[in-house]
């Protein structure tokens, strides 16, 4: 049994408040993602399992998030689409490396799970969480934000079009309020 089958919604229709990672995986596969890199976050854990179990996807676990930005740039140079997964604290690690896709106008799709903004128990997550959107915009990345699972799936689907068909650098922020509905 595959990972996707193990954690699928079975016969019942997908409830995107809970099953959004399954839908997101299908969307990313459908747009032709071939490489995925990540620094883990609990909010991304299902998506990471799905990607790691897919033989058609090359995944890279990173020591720091900016590595993923460079890998994504190299992947596009070689003709493959990729996605980078991280949490909001990792965005701070990426800033100078983002000059690479911005300056070379290379497609970039980042999915960022937010911390430090909704029922956050760790005060150390708040400074970077609050600075995430402003930091990304400051370096020239287009920022989109989802607050529900349904919105997230739609936003990522069209963000992929903008990234890979219009050479844009896009970060989709996944609100902590949305993630909070899942059991960590």
């Amino acid at each position: 049994m595959t990972v996707a089958e193990t954690i699928s919604s079975g016969d019942r229709p997908r409830d995107l408040t809970l099953d959004w990672p399954l839908e997101l995986f299908d969307v990313l596969k459908a747009v032709g993602i071939r490489q995925m890199s990540y620094v883990p976050d609990a909010g991304h854990s299902t998506l990471i399992r799905l990607f790691n179990a897919d033989p058609d996807i090359k995944t890279n676990v990173l020591t720091t998030e900016e590595e993923g930005v460079a890998i994504a740039t190299g992947a596009w140079l070689g003709g493959q689409r990729s996605v980078v997964l991280m949490q909001s604290s990792g965005v701070g690690n990426c800033i100078n490396m983002l000059s690479l896709p911005v300056q070379t106008r290379t497609p970039l799709l980042m999915l960022v799970t937010m911390r430090g903004e909704w029922a956050e128990f760790n005060p150390w997550q708040v400074p970077m969480g609050q600075a995430t959107e402003a930091s990304l915009k400051a370096i020239g990345v287009t920022v989109m934000r989802a607050e529900t699972g349904e919105d997230l799936v739609k936003i990522v689907a069209q963000a992929a079009v903008m990234a890979f068909e219009a050479d844009q650098q896009i970060a989709v922020l996944i609100g902590q309020r949305l993630l909070g509905k899942k059991k960590w």
């Binding site: 994504a72 190299g74 300056q103």
Partner: protein, 190 residues
Amino acid sequence: MDRRAAVVKLLAARKGALVVTGLGSPSYDVHAAGDADDNYYLWGAMGGAALTGLGLAQAQPDKRVMVITGDGEMLMAFGSLATIAVAAPRNLDIIVLDNQHFGETGMQTSHTGHGIALHRIAEAAGFAETGECRTLVEVDDLVERLAEAATGPRLFVLKIRAENLPRSLPPRDAVFIKNRFRGHLGLGTC
């Protein structure tokens, strides 16, 4: 050893290898050896050369990718040695032109000048092959070694003289370089 003579030897034997260069002098050295469509020059993004090479190597598994960068650039990407070792591409070679200094900023001594050996770090991380060359004759041997198929990522340190040679500037237009490179691979350029 003379850095440009060493780079000329590596590139003369590239045999279709795709080349990614780290910012500063390594980009100038590769450009000085002869501009080519399958050279991808970085002018910035310090710490990004080896990983750009990784993404490229994963996307083009049938082609060899050679990253040519400096000790300072590689030191900023210390963690990438772990990421690349785990990814274990069989078509990624990293050449570190090591003058033991930050040559672009006033020749301050770098960590390699204080004894850090990048090839030993790579070896400990699990690279398939690693080594250090101190003479051009050793580079000749390295060129032959690189022509052999690899079982995993390889990293070689070339100890070069600390000197600032006349700059040989690659095109500044990053989009042009990207599209030229992709065009070489038969990929869409817009």
